[in-house]
Amino acid sequence: MAYETSDIAADVSAPRMDAVAPAVAAHHVTVALGGRPILHGVELAMRRGETVALLGANGSGKSTLVKTIVGLYAPEGGRIELFGTPLARFRSWQRVGYVPQRTTAAAGVPATVGEVVASGLLAPRTWVLRRGRAERGAVREALATVGMLDQIGDPVAALSGGQQQRVLIARALARRPDLLIMDEPMAGVDLASQQTFADTLEELSGQGTTILLVLHELGPLARLIDRTVVLRAGTVQYDGAPVEHGEDDPGHGRERPGHDHVHPHDTPSEAPGRPVCPPGPTPVETLKLKEARA
């Protein structure tokens, strides 16, 4: 009984809280996996409509944070809220589109692009329902958004890596989410697909979708990022205007992004929102080469 009344109370207050609450709020989140601590008190808040890039070296906890936000890992401490509702009570999963880190969209049995994307329509209240005309429309719309409508009948296993990634994104978009969370969506994606992908995100962001991206570097996405958060060893190292990289490795010689005023190559005329390095497909190696020569 007590549980029920508290639920009703939450429902009544939900719309009012919803209007002001951030899309994602993580307060002092700690996570341990298999007894090993991964995140130590991470803070992250995303306003509605914001596009945030989560950067950091391998093992810094980016994926763990994202998986904790969507409820795949249970935090040991701290608090997570989606649209103002604590994660444990959050039920509006149809508002969340998730693109997990995958190298392929295929499984052990052939499936068409349309079938995979249609699986993105299932939500807590609708998973038993049959597919209707409206749902077919949503699948086609999501595929058109990522420029894959022509391949709707193709088996996913026959597509290139970049195309499969676009299928996974369309699967997340089919439910028309308010919050889109993507874990390394650019892995294995060719340059042409990266541009298409950037255009897709720009369009979604224009429609008011809140977007959280786990990335290794901003690359072609730099123009749409409002803010970057850099993780290092399970804590937030930097949170502010976009920077091109997380800290790639300690001996790298670049200034830590936490010191936002001090990049040696920065000219004073540069606006604070500017990326520290020019965006490009492989600037890490370029920088290292330059240093090696110098």
Binding site: G71, G108, P110, A111, T112, E115, W127, V128, R274, P281
Partner: protein, 302 residues
């Protein structure tokens, strides 16, 4: 009409055909999901576990079929638990469970005094199916088909990408458990027909054969069920005329279909490859250049 008189006129053959039809439909239906999530050998393991249930049924002088259903369901739940907390030792835990089930089953069946029975559960004895068996098989198979066809969208989503399904808000644990239990039930349905050692073949081989030639999940499932029914019915027919063991006949016919399908798929691919081979080399040269240019171009601040 001589054929109908000799074959379908016999009551035990009628029952055998009905049992074959039912398992031919049910096993590939659940098998499609198992292959999709790369758990093709799950049915094999649960077959081993089910044998302990048969032994319990025999030794307590109750029903071997329902004993098998019960123990296989418990085994399925255990497998799900082990899979959920999969660590490096999960594999070994499964092996323990499966061989424990097999050993326990053969021990119990032997203690019950009906040692001759063991073979019929290991390799099936479709020709000795009683009307009571047939009813049990039919009821269980209808349940299997209701789950596999009725919940196909949700099961597809869970087997395609479990993490995604969880974030989408599907009751993934319940669906996983349901899938495991349905697999266990299918194993017991197939036990009479092909035996616990080969029931997994009827779940997996028709799916493997179908997916050589299909592009869609729904089509794979449909074709697998058609192949399953075809192999089961023709296997029973063959066993009648050629006096071969029915279970082995069914499985070998299914494997024959698989080989035929792979050869057809290979020929199709080669023909498509030859058709596509000519324009490809000419296309490659000019196509690569802009891509390479873009990749090596100096990136500019935007």
């Amino acid at each position: 009409m001589n054929w109908g008189d000799t074959l379908l006129g016999l009551a035990f053959m009628q029952r055998a055909f009905l049992a074959a039809l039912v398992i031919g439909l049910a096993a590939p239906a659940i098998g499609t999901y198992l292959v999709q999530r790369r758990l093709a050998l799950m049915g094999d393991g649960l077959g081993h576990v089910a044998l302990t249930g048969v032994g319990l049924g025999l030794i307590t002088k109750t029903s071997p079929v329902w004993g098998a259903v019960l123990v296989a369901i418990i085994g399925a739940a255990a497998v799900e638990l082990i899979r959920e907390r999969a660590k490096a030792s999960g594999d070994v835990a499964l092996a323990m469970l499966f061989y424990g089930g097999l050993a326990g089953g053969s021990m119990l069946i032997s203690l019950s005094g009906g040692n001759a029975n063991l073979n019929s559960y290991l390799f099936g004895s479709i020709l000795s199916t009683s009307t009571g068996d047939l009813w049990a098989i039919a009821v269980l198979a209808v349940g299997v088909l209701l789950v596999t066809l009725g919940l196909r969208r949700a099961l597809f989503a869970v087997c395609q990408d479990e993490e995604f399904a969880r974030v989408a808000g599907l009751p993934v644990r319940v669906l996983n458990l349901l899938l495991a239990v349905t697999t266990a039930v299918t194993v017991t349905v197939g036990m009479r027909v092909v035996g616990v050692l080969m029931v997994s073949a009827l779940m997996v081989v028709p799916v493997a054969a179908a997916q050589q030639l299909t592009r869609a999940f729904a089509a794979t499932m449909g074709a697998a069920m058609a192949i399953g029914v075809g192999a089961a019915v023709s296997g029973v027919t063959m066993s009648y005329y050629a006096d071969t063991p029915p279970g082995a006949s069914i499985v070998l016919i299914a494997i024959g279909v698989f080989l035929l399908a792979s050869i057809c798929a290979g020929l199709l691919r080669r023909r498509r490859g030859r058709a596509g081979a000519r324009p490809a080399p000419g296309k490659e040269g000019p196509d690569r250049a802009p891509e390479a240019r873009a990749a090596t171009a100096p990136s500019l601040p935007q």
